[in-house]
Amino acid sequence: MEALAALLAVPLLGGLLLWALGERESAPEANSLFSLGTLLASLVLTAQVVSEGPVMGIYEQFFVDPLNVFLVTLTAFVAFTTSLFSRPYMRIERDKGRMTPGRLRLYHSMYQVFTFTMLLALTTNNMGILWVAMEAATLATVLLVSVYRTPASLEAAWKYFILCGVGIAQALFGTILLYFAAERVLGPEGNALLWTHLDVVKHELEPAIMSLAFVFLLVGYGTKVGLVPLHNWLPDAHAEGPTPISAVLSGLLLNVALYSVIRCKVLADGALGSRFAGNMMMGFGLLSVVVAAFFPMRQRDIKRMFAYSSIEHMGLMTFAFGMGGPVANFAGLLHMTVHSLVKSAIFFAVGHAVQKAGTQVMEDIRGLMKASPTVGWGLMLGTLAILGMPPFGVFASEFLILTTAMSIHPWATPILLVALGVAFAAVFGRVQPMVFGDSRLPRLQHQPALMPVFLHLGLGLMLGLYIPPYLATWYKQAARLLG
């Protein structure tokens, strides 16, 4: 209970304080410190959930079970390492004149607020508050995407705002319909939007309302997941915002949005008693994988290319959760974890590579291995990991997803394999010349933060070779919750 309160209070207070104090030389360290506090609170909370089972708090408005506690820890962890990465990154941006003190103040404050909204979305038990938190996360990131105030970043942020705003409005309509269905069973008092209560009575919810509600919820939150054809905002927002934000968008926000979808799926499955919700998710997921696999080869901008790779991986997870069953859910959760770790590591490496080259155009980034072996290796290993090369964790989860697909939906396997192959060829073909070859790239003014890159890649590697037993139990419990 106290851990839960601390988990939410630390980033919220951090955001307010960083705003109130204004920009100082020590703001990046303070930012990391608040993120560290959040991480510690999440670890205590995890220990509680592991030893005592699900935690409820504050008039049942908050609820932490094995499913969301693992995402809470992941979110707090990646938010912390990203804040470490952002220290040298933002100092270099400031020295280049792209960040003024006012913008840095906004950036640090919004970084904490954004972490807060994601943790609120993950821990809340109230489906209405979940919506409010997702919308607030959109608002916080809009400011972060447009922080450079260049024409392109303004356009990206405007597109992001309008598309996600409209998308999330659909999710609100879905939430209203969900409440409508629930109110008939639970009565009009405030409990009718609490997920734990809904979960108990999910078999009694009116199927006609629930199927419509799920469609709206999937389209709404799916916009934030970046599912094709609702993905248009995602590459722009990733490419034009600061790189630490691209890392947390890809690594965390998309996960939180997908988490919202799977919470809704559990309810829809119970109410409908059919595979309707799962089939919808499989359809959107498969479409996202296929479409996103063909885009990287046409990109010139390195961050756009990896943004498309995020769409592809989110599609794969959506597909896995759509298939359902213990193995596919396990694989989906594992994929969520390794994708977060590896993709944010890639963005860290990309961030420093772009700062070195002074451009995001891939043709102009050459010879990273010579100029800075650590950045080069980080990018190379990260790329291999995200493309599903063994022994990294992405290989393990993709293998599980593909074998499950093979046994339940054999028709989907060749489509997925071709898409993954195309993405591999495109992305590897682009990264290889950037990493090898001759280099005339200058040195960076500040020591790049490479510890987070290799920490994430190390964890991704570990999850591919060996999943610690407590982690495996935890995934299995979460997978069982999803049905």
Binding site: V142, A157, I162, L177, Y179, P188, E240
Partner: protein, 219 residues
């Protein structure tokens, strides 16, 4: 339950639908903001009627929030915004207005068909209006698509939020208070951010025409 209050709610619903069409066809931004304020007022009226007819206390609060936020505060912000940005003039639409209206009618028919099977489950006195609420959502959506200036898009966005709010009171007796407060906060913060944004866009592009915001495309 009083049959007259049901009729009054239906009347307000009809007004909302008419306003949605009026917004779709309106070219002047100032009038658009007036229409938006009227829409908010109709929403307050219908919420208060439902509250009066059913004795649901929290609906009075939510009517009060709507009154403050959507009839007074947001229109005021919008008026200030267009005065400072000096954009009162005609709006170019991407599709001509008669065509837009025809598409709008099709959307209304579609919305009614979608809502009919589920509105029968509602216990609310306003259950017949779920179709209208959905139609208003879709019409606001259409308005956002067909406008090429930033401010009308924002108004379309806000009017969509109004329609969703109307849906919440017509299908159920409004969402729980804490959720409504959260939504109101999000809308307010969102509006402020959009306002800041519009200035930044103007500063960069010397115009609020979102044609300038179409540079980021696939090669």
């Amino acid at each position: 339950m009083n049959p007259i209050s049901g009729q009054v709610v239906n009347l307000f619903a009809a007004i909302l639908l008419l306003i949605a069409f009026a917004m779709l066809s309106q070219r002047r931004i100032v009038t658009l903001i007036h229409l938006f304020a009227f829409q908010g007022a109709a929403l307050v009226g219908s919420t208060a009627t439902v509250a009066f007819a059913t004795g649901q206390k929290h609906l009075y609060y939510s009517a009060a929030i709507t009154l403050v936020l959507k009839v007074v505060l947001l229109p005021w912000i919008l008026h200030r915004l267009i005065r400072r940005l000096n954009v009162k003039w005609d709006i170019e639409t991407l599709i001509n207005i008669p065509t837009t209206m025809l598409v709008g009618i099709v959307l209304v028919v579609f919305a009614f068909n979608l809502a009919l099977p589920i509105s029968q489950f509602s216990q609310s006195i306003a259950r017949g209006t779920l179709g209208i609420a959905l139609a208003c959502v879709l019409l606001s959506f259409l308005m956002m698509i067909t406008r090429s200036k930033a401010v009308p898009q924002v108004i379309g966005f806000l009017s969509m939020e109004n329609s969703l709010f109307f849906a919440a009171t017509s299908a159920t007796y409004g969402m729980p208070m804490v959720v409504e407060l959260g939504i109101a906060l999000d809308v307010l913060v969102g509006m402020v951010i959009l306002g800041v944004f519009l200035f930044q866009i103007r500063e960069q592009f010397d115009s609020l025409d979102i044609h300038h915001l179409e540079k980021l495309k696939e090669d």
